[in-house]
């Protein structure tokens, strides 16, 4: 298990864990706030979502609902982009330097 202790002390590993978990939990929090914000609007302010945009019949609820869908995809994209560009590099370094 000495290899385990060595990995845990590796600054690259510590940086990987710190950055990945802070981004992961932060983005999860953002998603929860967006989604439950939407659900609370639906539950407590349905009339607000029914306000028409301009003079037409399209309501403000349509772009709000669609943007929750789009934001879910965008947040996923932000995480994957970060992971591809920097976490993978750190993981590779940790793996290389800690071959048993």
């Amino acid at each position: 298990m000495s290899n385990l202790a060595k990995i845990e002390r590796d600054p690259n590993y510590q940086e990987l864990v710190r950055r990945r978990s802070s981004l992961g939990w932060m983005l999860s929090g953002v998603m929860l706030v967006i989604y439950f914000g939407f659900i609370l609007l639906v539950a407590y302010a349905p009339k607000f979502l029914g306000i028409p945009l301009g003079s037409g019949v399209t309501t403000i609820g349509i772009p709000i609902g669609l943007s929750v869908i789009v934001l879910a995809f965008v947040l996923t994209g932000i995480y994957v982009r970060q992971a591809n560009s920097s976490y993978d590099v750190l993981i590779r370094k940790v793996v290389e330097e800690n071959r048993p």
Partner: protein, 563 residues
């Protein structure tokens, strides 16, 4: 995929000749036999059987059978995950919901999508790094194998069973309507084909069936939505204006309606949809079919994109059906129209048929046949994925790890999972026939509630919380499972609608129990774990460091065995 594109092209090109065959008219609840639909469906089944044959020759080891040898790419897996998720219930159900209630349909779509980012951020990579074939590999990584495997198998099998029954009953009804086949024939057909795909082709065949169906469904839905928008000069405003004009609820379809009446109920349903996604065994299993954690992460990104795009399409399709189906006597039941004066209520075959009728309205009989065949293919692909997840839980978790204590012969293990698939298939056919006239709508909600209250809490706590002990996971997990089942039975949907007690007498007013069953599960896991002073608990906590390093870096993870 390329390998098959010419094959599917030939099959599609030969369709019109089959479609020319005359259809017979059949009365009663059944639809006239739809030959173009049957022709295209036969084409789809033929193609999938070729794939199953191809996959069967390449399925020798347990890794091939459970996880397609880890040889699926991130993009392919994204399509397969999207395929698992875009079930007939979400395609026909959500477009039907938009058709009857407008905006409310969008609320469901949003709820079904937002679990995916959470899966990406917290679960996908860790799952791939820690597990091999089932999600129980992850939860039992440092905890007591026997107890945790039994808990995971219970959670998986109960989730799979309810989801499967709901799909089978839906399949029978739908096929009866679409193809004019008898209910029992439809159920036997779905169950039989599912058993063939899974027993012979394992995960490889199941994945490719899912990918092909996802591509067909996405193309069909794209065509339908584009055709609707084309009729309105690509102006959503014009589409909405016409819809609010012809719908009996008028402008109310543009805002949240009566579907979500009670705020707590809305939050509880939201929790079940969001976290249930992260606990469905047939979805979690897909992360083991890719090469490594990087591919797992990418596959959820693609899946989120496909699913989000698909839900936007179903919203347009639902509104398209309001304008084009509810106003056309051809799709309406004359006697109901006479009574209700509402084209929405009078739709032939019920609101779930909105997308199917719309296919006819925008693309004629041939496109109707295509969409009907795709809907059938969707059911087949989804039940196959479910059956494989259930069978893996029996053979890998219960047989190999619990009964044989991890020393099972690989070939025996595969044999057990094939037998389990056959048993599940026969059981699904039997239950599908038994439940023919029951209201099974609550079963999908129940499956999500159990996934969110038993599978998800144990999974996420085992990955992230050092303090978790075997005893805590088992007691908390079963608490979540039991309270979810009890909460559903005592909810208005089952107590009043299915069991027939007086309206308003349901002991629990929430439509979905996730709000308290998830809380109970997490609280139970936490409390029992911190009070646990056993020797086992110390070993559980000591194992966390090694598990955490592996979950983060993938060092020691099960490697891909693609040929």
């Amino acid at each position: 995929m390329k390998k098959f594109s010419w094959l599917s092209a030939i099959l599609l090109a030969s369709m019109p000749t089959i479609a020319l065959a005359a259809g017979s008219i059949d009365g009663g609840s059944k639809q006239a036999t739809n030959w173009s639909a049957i022709g295209m469906f036969v084409g789809f089944v033929g193609l999938t059987l070729v794939i199953t044959y191809w996959a069967a020759k390449r399925t020798a080891s347990a890794a091939d059978f459970y996880s397609a040898g880890g040889g699926i790419t991130g993009f392919q897996n994204g399509l397969a995950i999207a395929g698992d998720y875009m079930s007939a219930a979400s395609f026909l159900g959500i477009s039907g919901l938009v058709y009857t209630s407008g905006y409310d349909g969008l609320i469901y779509s949003v709820g079904w999508l937002v679990g995916w980012p959470i899966v990406t951020f917290l679960i996908a990579e860790q799952l791939r790094n820690l597990g091999k074939f089932t999600f129980a590999d992850v939860t039992s990584f440092r905890l007591g194998q026997t107890e945790i495997r039994i808990l995971a198998a219970c959670g998986s099998l109960v989730t799979v069973a309810f989801y499967l029954i709901a799909q089978m009953v839906g399949a029978g009804k739908l096929i009866q309507l679409l193809f004019g086949l008898d209910y029992w024939i439809a159920v036997v057909l779905v169950g039989g084909l599912m058993m063939i795909y899974v027993t012979f082709g394992g995960m490889k065949a199941t994945t490719w069936v899912q990918i092909i169906k996802a591509v067909l469904l996405l193309s069909g839905a794209t065509f339908m939505a584009a055709a609707v928008l084309y009729k309105f000069g690509f102006s959503p405003e014009a589409l909405f204006a016409k819809a609010t004009e012809v719908h009996p609820k008028k402008l109310a379809i543009m805002e949240p309606g009566s579907l979500i009446s009670n705020p707590l109920s809305a939050i509880s349903l939201g929790l079940a949809l969001m976290f249930g996604t992260a606990g469905l065994p047939h979805i979690l299993m897909r992360f083991f079919t890719v090469k490594d954690a990087q591919a797992a992460r990418k596959s959820v990104f693609y899946a989120t994109g496909f699913i989000g795009y698909f839900y936007i399409l179903t919203f347009i399709i639902g509104f398209g059906a309001i304008t084009l189906v509810s106003t056309d006597a051809m799709f309406l039941d004359g006697s109901i129209l006479e009574k209700t004066k509402s084209g929405i209520a009078a739709i032939k075959g019920g609101s779930n048929m909105a997308a199917i009728h719309l296919a006819n309205a925008v693309g004629g009989n041939l496109f109707l046949g295509f969409i009907s065949a795709v809907a059938f293919a969707t059911i087949l692909a989804v039940v196959s994925g479910l059956a494989l997840a259930g069978a893996s839980s029996i053979s890998h978790d219960l047989y190999a790890m619990v009964i044989k204590g991890g020393n099972a012969n690989e070939q025996d293990e595969i044999r057990v999972s094939k037998i389990a698939t056959l048993v599940l298939g026969v059981l699904a056919i039997f239950l599908g026939i038994v439940f023919e006239n029951q209201n099974v709508a609550f079963m999908v909600g129940l499956a999500f509630a159990i996934a969110a209250s038993c599978n998800f809490p144990v999974l996420v706590m085992s990955i992230f919380w050092r303090g978790l002990t075997t005893r805590g996971a088992v007691i908390g997990g079963f608490l979540g499972l039991a309270s979810a089942v009890l909460g559903v039975v005592l909810s208005p949907a089952v107590w009043e609608a299915t069991l027939g007690f007086a309206k308003g007498s349901a002991p629990i007013k929430l439509d979905n129990p996730a709000l308290f069953s998830m809380a109970l599960a997490f609280a139970g896991i936490w409390l029992v774990s911190i009070l646990d002073r056993s020797k086992r608990a110390a070993a559980d906590r000591d194992g966390f460091d090694a598990q955490y390093v592996r979950s983060q870096t993938g060092i020691g993870a099960a490697s891909a065995t693609a040929h």
